[in-house]
Symmetry: C2
Subunit: 429 residues, 2 copies
């Protein structure tokens, strides 16, 4: 339809967003996917289930953007008014869509196994002026409207259903309608250095970037993700250009770089362990299973993660991890000595190459003068020995758990690098 930059607005509908009971995770995912296609999200707007608010948002955002993505407001209850509103906005008539009806019936038979209600049947109704987007993961169909060169796409707010419709229908169709630029991203992850220090180190690099290549800083708890994005007409050309700059960036940040791909810390660790055929175990006190959860959230982690012990109570540290009662008495559960014994025991008990152990005070209670809330000891046991490290975090309980997990995983990562480098000649014997 146009050769200029294509902009998108995301409108999320639902009182649950405005009363704060739902965190909007959809928009971030949608923005990422649109970005990959070369569509730029200009604005995201959340409005309640109110006729005028939704109507105005459609008017407003279609002045700013060519693609208007709408999520939510399609549930079976009375406060969901989006479908009749869209029907009126685009001047249509509500009709039953046969494929959507079969889908609703099918889901009730296979999964819900209850009598269908009238409101469920009504979900198969759609305005006759839209292209129906079938929902393979739920009962509410999506709707695709076109008006004055703009595309309006309405989808359910359930993340899984929205993602299915985007992947199967919306994302393949948008490039057929709009002439989109080539976009190339290169991402690297750093750990242990703040955003402003990185910015200071690569000041010259950043200043000299050409207009069509942007650098984004994406910080998160002691880790910073850096993303180069090149936009242009010729994909081959901009790929070569951004790859060249990316090599330069990597060489400037080599000492703090975790991985030169758009991966998480736990994915980076998984790749290293899988590559070298090594395994890991966990012994967690204060993080209560969060570290093993992060490791196992990666598909295929069963190749390198064997298991873990959540030794929340000291009796579990003593009875299963065989931490010495004297160690606990003399040094306490939050000590170098305790995490040392925990890590060694987990590695032996679960028979792995590496083991992580953590013990700390996550708050809000449990702090003392000597060991205030946020005191954390981490240990990593490996073939070459066991190292311990103390950290101090300074957040609320949830974030303390998160930060502790990142610290522990980063210590594991550094140990794996040292170990595999040190043992390199061993491995080749």
């Amino acid at each position: 339809m146009t050769n200029d930059r294509v902009y998108a607005s995301i409108i999320t509908i639902g009182d649950e967003l405005l009363i704060g009971q739902t965190i909007d995770t959809n928009s971030a995912w949608m923005a990422q996917e649109l970005n990959k296609l070369g569509i730029w999200v200009k604005r995201r707007v959340a409005v309640g289930d109110l006729w005028d608010e939704i109507w105005n948002a459609l008017d407003e955002e279609s002045k700013q953007s060519q693609v208007i993505l709408i999520t939510g407001g399609l549930g079976p209850t009375a406060d969901d008014i989006t479908k009749p509103l869209l029907n009126e906005y685009f001047g249509g008539k509500l009709v039953i869509d046969e494929a959507a009806l079969r889908n609703v019936k099918d889901i009730f038979e296979k999964y819900i196994k209850r009598q269908m209600l009238d409101v469920n049947l009504k979900q198969a109704e759609v305005p006759d002026v839209c292209t129906v987007i079938q929902n393979k993961r739920g009962t509410a169909p999506g709707m695709w409207f076109e008006k004055d060169g703009k595309v309006f796409i309405s989808m359910p707010g359930v993340p899984n259903e929205m993602k299915g419709m985007m992947s199967d229908f919306v994302l393949p169709r948008l490039p057929q309608i709009f002439s989109l630029p080539a976009v190339v991203h290169r991402t690297l992850l750093t750990a242990g250095i703040g955003e402003s220090y990185i910015a200071d180190r690569i000041k010259d690099f950043e200043t000299n970037l050409p207009e069509h290549i942007k650098l984004a800083y994406l910080p998160n708890f002691g880790m910073v993700r850096l993303r180069l994005t090149a936009t242009g007409k010729n994909e081959t050309e901009i790929t070569a250009e951004v790859d060249n700059l990316f090599l330069n960036l990597q060489s400037q940040l080599q000492d703090v770089m975790v991985i030169n791909e758009d991966k998480t810390l736990e994915e980076a660790i998984g790749l290293m362990l899988a590559k070298h055929n090594k395994t890991v175990a966990t012994a967690e006190s204060c993080t209560g299973g969060y570290i093993s959860h992060l490791i196992t959230s990666v598909p295929g982690s069963s190749k390198y993660f064997k298991g873990g012990i959540v030794s929340y109570h000291n009796t579990v540290k003593e009875n299963i991890l065989c931490v010495d009662a004297d160690t606990l008495d003399n040094h306490g559960a939050v000590s170098a000595e305790t995490v040392f014994e925990m890590a060694v025991a987990a590695k032996e008990l679960i028979k792995t190459d590496f083991a992580i152990a953590v013990s700390g005070v996550m708050g809000p209670d449990g702090g003392t003068d000597e060991k205030p809330v946020g005191t954390v000891w981490v240990a990593v046991a490996a073939k070459s020995g066991t190292i311990t490290k103390k950290f101090q975090t300074r957040y609320g309980r949830h974030q303390n758990i998160e930060v502790t997990a990142i610290h522990a995983l980063n210590l594991l990562r550094q140990t794996i690098i040292t170990e595999l480098e040190n043992n390199f000649s061993d491995n080749n014997k």
Copy 2:
């Protein structure tokens, strides 16, 4: 300033929100806190780090709302333009705030322990037309502006820093400026029944609600939270009214109600266990520690959670949980027999009153014809015996893990209720 309903708009600033690398968790928290005060969030808008976009959002939202909360755009890097923009918008002059400067220096000395950069010092600059909100958890101060009867509050995007400023300064101050209505919320959590079935059951109740009392449905993976919100001038009156309706609602949903407070499933379980002085352990395969993470995310959970085994690999099931090799051979890791043995072993090994065990296929790989992705077995061991239950989930890996945890925790909850009721006479002996 006014006696009408007070509306708020939340503006979040930052390219990271529009390229989808950051999920906005701030807005939900802010909306909840504002709601408690009787301030209604009308719109939430996310814009990039662009001068005109931010300026227009300030213009637009101040037409709609009396309170405009702004987060983000206050970082030390060059793309953060919010502070100079606000300075110009409100016609001020940037000056060093001495208290903010001391705070920046303090944080660098105590935590960061690196040489300060010029950009860090610049964080202590503020427009001379604002009231400075000191940041106890970070380096960027917040700013409070008033103009034409509207209040504009700019805060950092870091959740922890924003929350500190809101709690210490913004939330106590807003009721001093605006005349706010009394607002009373009552929340209950249900499990095991869909939104549309609840709506159908309480149709009459909902239809007969007075205009000033609203009912919200907040569904999440097989659980639905129901919230009654009453607004009015006389707090005593509306409290009595909403309490009365809430009792009615509870009696209609008693069979599916988890708890009659605004708590999570894991908090509800924690309250029951703590009250009866009982303890729980976990034995997790497919959820990889997520269940113990949920349980231990509740402050004070060490009172009733002793520990868990993450038996990801079968050797851990055999060696630590002593699952019979024949059981694994004959029935497989994902079977009633295996989770039964896991739960019993965890309960004995960790010496608790209850134990949960789970084993399943979370995907994307590992499914077979007989046990496709999404097949899950759950067991709960208790004094009265051990029950097992099969579930089928149908999402992606992350959501399958989440749904499995909820199913398992709900089975534990039901078991605790049965057990404690059955043993009631025992306890009183």
